[in-house]
Assembly symmetry: D4
Homo-oligomer: 219 residues x 8
């Protein structure tokens, strides 16, 4: 990614030794390095070799960064979940957004089966620059939100559910078939990818209007 | 069905001659006879042999009935659709409900992508005895409705949609995975079955409380 | 659910600490609180913090309730299983029904491969107010039962089976395609949802006929 | 097939000219020649070249045979259908059975949603040598029949149905998952294959017990 | 099963205590009792309560029987496998066949990728009364065998394979689509069901020709 | 959509009379009205009632608009196709974009099997504000493009292909599984939805930075 | 393709005018131009603009070529089919092979249900340089052939079949799961792709051993 | 395989004792014996009985061979991976190729999301005799490579991925639908099969041109 975003390691399916080596190589050239899908036990092993490695346990993300290395970008990324079981995926998105230098606004547990929860948070949707909507089970939240919002909506299906949910296929199909236009869908549980797409959207500001100050580059 | 409901012919996959013969046999013993999935051309052929056959073109239902033969049952069946393309399936439910002797209340085009349409019809949901919710595309309407209603909800997926809709599989999965409890799902496009289930629910009144007057039996 | 039914926690995918906190919050305002999909080990951990928590091991349900808090509602919910391996799902339905204040009548192991078992229990079907029929393998029991019954039938597919059963997809399809009308289907293994739908059906009595005494509200 | 059964042409996907040529070649060496999946219009074209070709319109089978060429075999093949829409597939089986020299006993429309129809025909099942059970929709009939019968059961799913039937996949899965043992399943709509398997079963008599007279060979 | 075949317990998904109790009840009335899908550790627990319980480790079958209780039936059941990994399923069939009183003839590892192995065993196919053909991977063996044999063929797909095998779906489809007629298919890994069907086929001898001596009834 | 975008009618599954009535109602209140999935014959019928209706035959879009009613928005939408058969879907996106007031830049036939075609158009990707990448067959183009671009990428799978393409499922899965981050996927053939999402992205400029002039509202 | 193979137009989904224009452009620079998936009626329209266009009706291929323009390459491509309905796909492969300058050897109708047909053609397999094996239904032929051959085998599933064949998915899975190693699979009905792969294999001769004379380049 | 290639044991699903016995039998007659899918713990157990057994831990292959027994064949097999997680499958291919006597050239981590990595290795593709391209996730690499290469391409999908990857189904479909011709696909994770097919392709040299020296037979 030639975007000034963090360097990223996909941690799943890699041994701790592989991850350590890749992070060490990357940090030489990049101010922010992160790894996703890191279980706590793996983190503990990584930290022995990389003592300044931070851990975000709900997001299962490890990162090397510091206030001065983190860019300070324009725009915030608003993230919603339908249920509490969707929070880990939403946190993967939120922490990624923050490591990219954006502000992340979180609103959890506003699923459609209790529509009043969403309606009483209408202002969050109205004020959003870009929305990431995370939902498992039947995955109906992005449809309702996109109908209320007038900003881009990124829909993230999760594997939360059972039976005919098929590990996230049901909410994935729901989101692809949404009768509300203006929704982009990412892979099941792909909070990371949603945040990168949201970041790209906010960065588009600069390209569209050269008068907008360039987001602070990572030094 | 030993329920005092109409005798029913499944018209799809039958020749007009077969349908005519079955209706003629049935009408000898039953005050109300109906056939579903009847195209207009088929109806025109049937009517030549059965001049008093009525036709409901949107529902694609043919029926023999008259005010005096129709039972007058307790309770109404409220039917909602998400979009206009779902109306034929909803009408199959509504006409079936009426031929069973129930009152059918219709509310079309209140899909979740414009949630205000649903919210401004809240009283319809509040006053319902039993709800049939018909939706294609992503099929999210039953989840929202069931969260608002405190009566049984019957969800009917339709084959309206394209691409990853898979002819109604997407809304079917949505409805089976609803995080709102109290939803019973029927087959794709099965408006008829939804109405029969709704009718069975309203008939349950009599069994549960013997003081409630027995629904008028078909003579 | 604004229905006077218990508050419910979906226990799967939550840590014991999360469940404890949610139950403690809920019990402040609700006379009956229950949690589903709780393994015995989890229950033992929960009980240390909530000593009056009861456990229904076959149903895998935990609950806080007492005779005086349980409502005493009109109508009974009759629950059938095809095989013995379907009992845990059926018990999830039965215990939920009882915690909602209904009487649960159980009839196990009357699958269609030995049709005499069902026929010799005809009176159970005849006397039912509402039926929950639980079946895995090929899931044919609801079709036969719905043909015999004249009350609403809720069909629950289970994941019991192997090979081309696909963890409950085969009985799910069977139930959706039933040629007996009047069947509402819920998700695979969703005994809880079936009981809530049955409860909603029995509660419909009150709405349809205002002369029927209101089910005792939870104090 | 080295079995003394008819020579068979699969008519679907062949032009009339191809079918004519194959039948003419085959009849030179075989007393009975048949072709399946022949529409009436195709038959009319075939008959111009092969005047003694017979047509079985429901089964969509063409055949050349005569009483003296037909073998007279031991045993009868009993064929059941769940509904009337399954009859064409069942007739494909029945006519094939007869052209193989067996007696075919037909019992139509005894599906499980009206179990009394099956129970009042119990003697047909009791007297069967081998059963072919044809069903679409949810395809539950073979399970019930196999539980009642003590002879081999061949289950034929049909593509009759709609929605989540998936053109016969639902009854196919039902039959493969039957909890009644002793059922062999064939492809969707494969009445022909079911009859050949039934014929092979009846022919097994001879191999198992050499005292049984050899089925009359086709001269 | 009213067939003089063993009483059978499906062992999977049952606790040892449940299995012990069922076997003890059954043995009071039946000379042969068997349980399938029993792991060795489970067997060891069962044996403490039922000391005369035998174990067939490859078939994972437990049984109570003795030479004098086993019937001595007419006809043998010939069982083939494509590979060595298919043997456990084939042994489930073979041991079931033997506990039903039939002779089981085994021929392992004659898959189609080395067709000479099958061709050099042609006599086994020629002499068979009924064939059970067990295959995983692509499952092509039943097609080739059915083309060579003139007796009924029962095809058993196994879950042996990986990737696009989908745990046995690939060989299941192969067997259902076989262009060789006369094949009945059972569920994936269902060696037991195949043996029962084969047994039913051999028992059909008696019904078809009353001169054939009745298979020795279980005393 | 409260976005100043056109009012849109989904033309598929509607009769010409229905479309005419909806367009007439909409045009009373909106400067731009469009209908998608309109075949030429349908357009000809519509034009008789709405003489100023324009037709975009490749996009199969009808619209009422004029230079003065069309807004003039900031930013352009760049649209790529892999093959020529993907052009109709891409044109649905392009015309929608233009009717929303954006500039549409088209680049057709740069699929990955001839990577040089893409590489020699590198400047198009470099200069893009937001990219819509349309591809059928294996759908690999968005992965390659997203790796080259540093703006948001919207991927549109098409149903172009055959066999194991499954009417667009193959490219849909490809796009969801892309190892390039920053891709949002829409439903198969949903060029319209892609354009609306792209438009929402460009509109986000205004919200993020209030100094950017507000896109001209539709009067 | 920088291979000296013909220029190819995929004719499906293109209008005659589009095909004519593409062919005319291509023929300016290439000695051999071909188009696949051309129905006879389309050919007749094409021929009016391109009088020297040849047509191969079974293969549904159009081509411009002449003996002097056709290269004369080393090696032959041997093509087998399981049934007669597979011939069109096999001819697509054969004609493509010939237009690439290879010799095509055809052997039709040697499916595995009559294994003797294959065995009596053993010499064809023994003499093959590279094999293309085309099969629908259960698609078992490539497994048997690859076990007999010691050259590369390209397997082509066809959509010939019905029911659980799923338009070629069943033979596709069979071929991917073959327990015979050394098989490369192409898409359903993709005779063209199989021929190109076979041609690439024969061309590899030149690269591996520079002493082998370079295949005559197309002038 | 009558090809002078190693004897191979499929190690998955076999006990160490079974593998030991098969290897010991095979080594009596073959200079090179290998077993695939061998975990390290299994290898350690095997080595106690077969002390000269070598282990390739990444490929999970065990082998008995020595420089003098290994044939020295003409041609090299070039193997590419899209990502590092695909390396185990690629090593299964590479080690198999080497045990067959071919030279294996490895190029890892050149996936399409960073197309420059592939472009800067263009010479590797240009010099290849036959290519094996291994990719998980969306599996787009073979399409791009086949468009650049003019030698046969064997595509190997891996199960690397998550969510809508479906354990390798997504890259499998991608590869089957590639719009680049000349690609043969093998089963998910089947590195072994790809290497055997590549070996068969290189051996075809000899058959096509008898002047090419016969690959050294294994003595
Ligand atoms: N209706 C049918 N269903 C299934 N298989 C059939 C049917 N009719 C014919 N066949 C099979 O197709 C073979 C003939 O195929 P063909 O040589 O293509 O005409 C016969 O030997 C039968 O095995
Ligand atoms: N291995 C097996 N495969 C398929 N069905 C089996 C098997 N073992 C037992 N069964 C069936 O399971 C029934 C017993 O089920 P249960 O009453 O749950 O123990 C038997 O009557 C058989 O029909
Ligand atoms: N080509 C299209 N693809 C996807 N969605 C569309 C398309 N055209 C219209 N729509 C959506 O359909 C809605 C109108 O649907 P309807 O009210 O049924 O006409 C619009 O608001 C759009 O969101
Ligand atoms: N890793 C592998 N992937 C695919 N097929 C394999 C693999 N290893 C071995 N085989 C095949 O399995 C056969 C041996 O199977 P088996 O006789 O069960 O050990 C070999 O001849 C190969 O065709
Ligand atoms: Mg919106
Ligand atoms: Mg509710
Ligand atoms: Mg009923
Ligand atoms: Mg039976
Ligand atoms: Mg045979
Ligand atoms: Mg990028
Ligand atoms: Mg070979
Ligand atoms: Mg190439």
């Amino acid at each position: 990614l030639r975007t000034g975003f963090p360097e990223v390691v996909w941690g799943q399916d890699k041994t701790p030794q592989q991850i350590i080596q890749i992070i060490k190589t990357m940090r030489a050239n990049h101010p922010v390095v992160m790894a996703t899908r890191i279980e706590r036990e793996v983190y503990q092993e990584l930290r022995e070799s990389i003592p300044d490695l931070q851990y975000y346990p709900v997001a299962k993300i490890c990162a090397i960064s510091s206030p001065e290395t983190l860019p300070n970008r324009i725009g915030k990324i608003t993230i919603l979940t339908a249920g509490t079981a969707d929070i880990p995926v939403a946190e993967e998105a939120a922490v990624t957004a923050e490591l990219c230098g954006f502000q992340a606004q979180r609103l959890w547990d506003v699923g459609v089966a209790g529509i009043h929860r969403l309606l009483s948070n209408r202002h969050v949707i109205d004020e959003a620059d870009v929305l990431i909507v995370v939902a498992g089970m039947e995955g109906a939240l992005p449809s309702v939100v996109a109908g209320m919002a007038d900003c881009p909506v990124i829909a993230v299906p999760t594997s939360v559910g059972y039976g005919a949910n098929f590990s996230g296929v049901s909410p994935l199909l729901t989101m692809l078939n949404s009768c509300a236009a203006g929704i982009g869908v990412v892979n099941i549980n792909n909070g990371f990818g949603a945040a990168i797409l949201a970041g790209q959207i906010l960065r588009a500001v600069q390209k569209v209007n050269p008068d907008v100050p360039v987001p602070a580059a990572i030094p």
